[in-house]
Symmetry: C2
Subunit: 253 residues, 2 copies
């Protein structure tokens, strides 16, 4: 099985950001947090306050390491907002976007470390030049510098395919209504239009309109069955309302 | 031109999260922040402290609104970690993932409001049921509840294609080396192998290996030209070193 990436933060300045990163790790199925020269993480302070449920495992299990150890052990990816402008220098160029990094890591089995820098200045050039790859989040040219915790959250979100075995979301594809039931809705709708003596010339067009509207919404079973009930009831009532004389005639016999 | 989405936060409890959201908005090209019943945002407090450069515009321009006004004016998307489990109830089902929401919004021109709930409980059912769509970030089944600021950051990141006109990243496609130069590298490498009398039987195989390694790395112009220089110099020196007798014979004449 593919080993999950570890997260390394070099000289984080504010405990709150360490907590935010720990929480994002737990949200996206990661466990190994490594810190280079971190601030003190007081169990009653901001790191634990920001960590959510990661205060129970990711954060207390965080390990202090040196960047040298990390470089020796892992395939290292330096995360930075500021990339090289062109190909003449190699400290921050070439780079991958998070999507490109994910697609690349999917193809190999490697122990990867995602390395984040300090809040104020990020990773120094003398650190980045020792790392194997550079990754940068595309953001607005006018203000591309993300907060450390927010950048890490996006990175971990984007790599979730490699790290989250089971999401909280139900598998919706299975829940689309069956085609025959959807076709039945169109038949009921046609009967409904007939029952209200809908303009003959417009009828086919209106039926097509419903088919297109429902078709692109990928309706659920529940939605289709509820609408079937709505149209059937309306059709029955319309048909009854249009035959009051026949009814009373019968009653009067 | 397609109007950019606005961001609405319903009853945020901590000013810090409002600042985080404002920063993410500026990072991803958004400007309109609307707050329903927010806490006081002290210019010397955490909201401004967390907002980065968004303290200059997004945050001070944030507008207090009611949820009713938002519902009346916008196509509303409720963001929540907790979706319906199946199709029997419609408050939180069906839902879109952020990627699906982006792909859907790309196809229409609409004024969209991304609506986030309070930190503790998110959006209430009575709020979500009035919104037009539900969006949920796929996360670990074991702990899918993201912090408010982190969830908003991911949503805005994922919608960046609709909101960021120009990223900070250079256009790398243009910077790939020219094919003839890459071919020249393979020729130089072949000459380099010849100059060192590399095993004849392995030579073609080793040349293919380099072609595959370079081929999948999409080298830059600078990388290719630097390597061309490295191999040319080595080849020249190897050739000189293998002809010492001819040289000294010439000298001795």
């Amino acid at each position: 099985m593919r080993p999950k990436p570890v997260v390394v933060v070099v000289e984080p300045e504010t405990p709150g950001n360490v907590g935010t990163i720990a929480r994002a790790m737990k949200n996206f199925g990661l466990t190994d947090l490594k810190l280079v020269d971190p601030p003190e993480l007081d169990p009653d302070g901001e790191a634990y306050g920001f960590a959510g449920h990661a205060r129970e495992d990711v954060l207390p299990n965080a390990e202090e390491v040196s960047l040298e150890e990390v470089i020796e052990t892992y395939h290292t990816v330096g995360c930075t907002a500021i990339t090289g402008e062109d190909s003449r220098r190699h400290v921050r160029f070439p780079f991958k976007t998070p999507v490109e990094l994910r697609d690349s890591l999917k193809t190999v089995e490697t122990r990867t470390a995602l390395v984040f820098g300090r809040e104020g200045r990020g990773l120094h050039n003398r650190e980045i030049e020792q790392l194997d790859e550079v990754c940068s989040i595309p953001a607005s040219d006018e203000y591309p510098v993300l907060n450390l915790g927010q950048a890490a959250t996006i990175m971990l979100y984007e790599l979730r395919e490699l790290t989250v075995e089971q999401t909280q979301l139900p598998d919706v594809e299975r829940l689309r209504a069956e085609e025959p039931d959807i076709e039945r809705l169109y038949a009921y709708f046609a009967a409904f239009l007939a029952a209200q003596n809908y303009n003959d010339r417009k009828r086919a067009k209106t039926q097509r309109l419903l088919r297109r509207l429902i078709g692109r919404a990928h309706p659920t079973d529940r939605e289709i069955h509820t609408l079937l009930g709505v149209f059937r009831q309306a059709t029955n009532q319309l048909n009854e309302a249009s035959e009051p004389e026949a009814d009373s005639a019968t009653t009067n016999q």
